[in-house]
Subunit: 353 residues, 4 copies
């Protein structure tokens, strides 16, 4: 297999650290550049970072020199992963794409761009066709691909097979999101220890909007026609470390016969990368639990390196047709992990060479 | 004011301890009997109890002798509060009522009995008329009154003014319930630290059913015609100590004009005990928060001695008409506190003399 | 009783908020000025503050206008409580003292000043004599009094009666400190949820030094001769909200006969304000627990409005003579509460008039 | 390498589950028998167990049939790991040893037996000579080896190199122990959420006694002469999941020159299995941290599959010579993991064949 040199943008931030953690031992990708702010550039990574991951900083990364995020600093890489802050991502990611470097981004800035795929490989792998309509780099080498918000990922993974089977009229959603979703330092311990905060700024609109693009239909003209159904979302913060839990209630266009039927649909899902054997692809993308007590963030979010989505409590309801809970590891499956999977897909599809 | 001697049934349990805690310094009620299991009878309360309240066990209670829960042992009291376990409540509570002793119970056993009021004074104070149809004690002195499940209390307090204003078609609910709701020892720390459990056994049916009786209409024949709308509930356990947080979404019969209008309805609620000046009545039964970050269990559940219900995040939705979060202190407002308020109401109404 | 107008310096900070909380309903002191940074000056307190206390912000305070901390802005007060940050306290507190306004400070800046009392009333009430040697204000009206670090307070309260009875040769100490001790936002939830951090920057030197001044002997010349024994301290942060727990081991000059004897010494302590009846004085300053499982931060730190210190696990050891654990509410007894008690003492002693 | 069939005693308990978890993919050992109580015997493991590990129950184990713990039921295994409760371990472990089956036990029952090694391979690998004096099984095939308490393991690993270098006079110790150390259901969440419990029943005597045997000297007669120095211990429970943190202060016979010298001694430790290349041996048995904030339970206890012990905050003190903190994963390094390492050592040494 061809090996690729990759750069990490925002390498000292929480998402950047997760990229570094998850890429250790990756069979295709080797980190050769670490981009951060001007303030960090020139320092060793060990000096520049306040390492917050729960595994030790790898020695090989610790001694690398941090650069800025300019095309010049990234010129030796085949592509970059971006964990940049939204305040700088528009310009820096655009510059790299224009300079011919593919950008696989976790930032929100380009998610709504009409020619930028918002991508979860199992759900909408074909949306990468949108890349061909991008004009960042006339040569076609540079482009931008994004992954969605950390709640949208497990949500669309649970909804996609059900939408295909039954059609969706409406969704009600309450999330219980872990503190790692707020970055670092993020949520103050005085605010969240033994507590729940019933609001996450800016979250609910993203949760309602992004699934529409993800579940949309790719047309012949490399554009996506978005899905259209309401998602009434309430986003809350709970004192968990990693793993967002979603309480989902769904009104379908065609009523399922039973909870068992719904479970069978979820278990038998043939998703869009089932046969591709991507390195970060979980063997079971969607695990369905029969035991009502599961899935749980602390016990199940780390399944298959944090790339599996868990679904439980599938049951029929009275006003809605059915309810379920879904769990996704927010910084793996919902951020850095899905971005790596996106890059693997783009390699397979030939967009990254 | 007349003083009343009260007994506590299940005095060594979690709810019993909360009764003892909340009744310290009560202007009308003095604890004169502590009933527990045969195993505890004869011991001092200090010996019999594993005190779990976060305040110190009062000396005067510590030295009292625990008895069993029989009518003979309770013969000196004017009425009893019951925190009995469901496995024994049917018989023991019935025996006391038959012996002429009013029973104000937190147990679930008689909640669905057609002549037993399920009571939250602010919501359905008039339902105490149902007592007159009870036949436990032909003399009329002994009777049973119950309070609902700890989630149902804040739910109906938030719904009642809205139902009166707009009518309710359907409710979707996800709860985030504290560990004190499971009694003691209750939830194992290994199960809940840094975690969420997406299921609470037996909870969702109670949450769906009890509000129908609470929000029902008292007829001339001392019976209640239940309300009828679906409540699709998901009950979860989160690592908070006290205070259940509810994410509520409501479809009304008449659509409200705006979130501000809904807030005004909630703030202007003239509830059924507004003018009674009951000792445990909060000055503000329903507090509406404008700051999206509130109410929070650890910071707001204890307001007005745990008797205030908080409502926040009132907003219009797309599929539902409106959403909100509601917070109630589960062991005060949702259990021992509401039972005490029920007793105070019954004194005012003359049922307890 | 004469009433006093008081100002709060650093009113929007964590300690300032605790002052406001604790002074609600105080029988002698009324808050009439709220001083904060230039950035907050001119705003209403409700606008300026991010209120983090677990009780609601009092309406009367919410509507007050915040000022800066200059003598001009504080000219109507009888004295001030200071919760100022150390970076500004030296200048601002000095200015007020020089302008004739007594400063009762929780900041560390003047704690080691040779003429400034470091005061815990029960332990060293007579040290206020040191004020007479201060030269901030030639008229004698303005002066500065400080309280110690939040660990030093419960430590010296447990050690003082034992030092008087047995003499102390050495102390080994490991603290388990709550997150509120780090202010706000303080400790990131990602760092402390389900975790312990074995270090608190700058804490151990203060814990070793401050007790020497507190336990020192006042001479005829208004100076204090410090006590001299080593305190080998390890300060750690644990995921508790309020209440610092101390594991203490003591080598005495004279070996106690038994753990029971030590407990009797602690229980019979006639401390220095026993007879003064100060409003914030707990009835029992030092509570000794016989049950090995106590004291515990969440259950016992709030005793007597957070002003009682708990001592438990008193036992004889092998290398050391005896061991015990001590618990103090860090933001009440260890900060704002002890400062208020200091002010009450100064009123009784006539220093504040 | 020869393969071994192993049985797990107490397979459904917390320690038994950890054995199962850690043995997945072990290069030498394959689980072929699962022993539990009569109540579980005959059920599939999936039916019998309440699986609490944070990874999913392996399918191959789930379908195995649970047996009792008798020699007859274990007759096909080469040896057993015991996670039995102390109430039954004396008899059941003795029976197996007498039946010729080596027992590698985590139970405390035989730890103080004069001919049973209390073993941490890095510290006292040669103590396995004691086995030769055992008379459970005249043929010599059956014997018992134990591992120490979960606090004693990291403690002796930190102390051993220092004792060899400087001699030890006395140790003061305060532990902050995770909830998993109490088994399941163990500590009630109502007791430990946001709290510290300053006592663990029965723990401190074990912590003081077991290191004496572990650090003792093996004589020519297959007996161990215990070390002799006092360990004044305070054991506390904190709301962490896994990983016991120890605050240690040491008085040496010869004073170290500096903290750096002590760190060098710890880093250069040539422990007793350094060259043996055991499968569960961490590459770095003792990791020394220079950053004062580490080691931390949640972030560092899992290093090298939970088999590495972390040491930090090495510093000179005033009354003691030096202080440090040590961290060990209590259910891996301090229980099931060290037992597996013990078995690996016994294979290498030829005791298990």
């Amino acid at each position: 297999m061809k090996q690729f040199n990759v750069g990490i943008l925002g390498a000292t931030g929480a998402v950047g650290q997760k990229f570094i953690n998850l890429l250790q031992g990756h069979p295709w990708f080797t980190i050769t550049a670490l981009g951060a702010s001007e303030r960090s550039a020139g320092k060793s990574y060990a000096e520049a970072v306040n390492w917050i991951e729960a595994v030790e900083l790898p020695d090989a990364i610790a001694s690398m020199t941090v650069t800025d995020c300019s095309p010049a600093s990234m010129k030796g890489v085949d592509f970059v992963f971006s964990g940049l802050d939204a305040s700088v991502a528009t310009e820096l990611e655009g510059d790299l794409a224009r300079a011919g470097i593919p950008v696989i981004s976790n930032a929100k800035n380009y998610r709504t761009h009409p020619h930028v795929p918002l991508l979860v490989p199992e759900v909408n792998a074909t949306h990468t066709e949108m890349i061909k309509a991008q004009d960042f780099d006339p040569s076609g080498r540079g482009f931008i691909v994004t992954n969605p918000n950390c709640v949208a990922v497990p949500l669309v993974m649970a909804l996609k097979p059900l939408m295909d089977a039954y059609g969706i009229q409406a969704v009600a959603l309450t999330t219980m999101q872990s503190v790692s979703g707020a970055g670092y330092p993020g949520v103050a311990s005085l605010d969240i220890l033994g507590n729940v905060i019933p609001f996450i700024s800016g979250e609910e609109p993203k949760i309602a909007a992004e699934p529409m693009k993800l579940l949309g239909r790719l047309g012949g003209d490399q554009t996506v026609t978005e899905a259209r159904f309401p998602i009434d979302a309430t986003a809350t913060r709970v004192p968990t470390i990693e793993g967002h839990l979603l309480s989902v209630k769904i009104k379908f266009e065609q009523k399922p016969a039973s909870a068992d039927e719904i479970k069978a649909v979820l278990r038998n899902w043939k998703h869009e990368v089932s046969g591709l054997d991507l390195p970060s692809s979980p063997r079971t993308a969607l695990k369905v639990y029969d035991d009502d007590r599961f899935p749980q963030p602390r016990k199940n979010a780390y399944n298959e390196n944090g790339m599996q989505v868990g679904v439980g409590r599938v049951r029929m309801l009275e006003f809605f047709d059915a309810g379920l809970v879904a769990l996704g590891h927010n910084t793996c499956r919902g951020a850095a992990g899905v971005a790596i999977l996106n890059a693997e897909l783009l390699v397979k599809q030939g967009f990254i060479q």
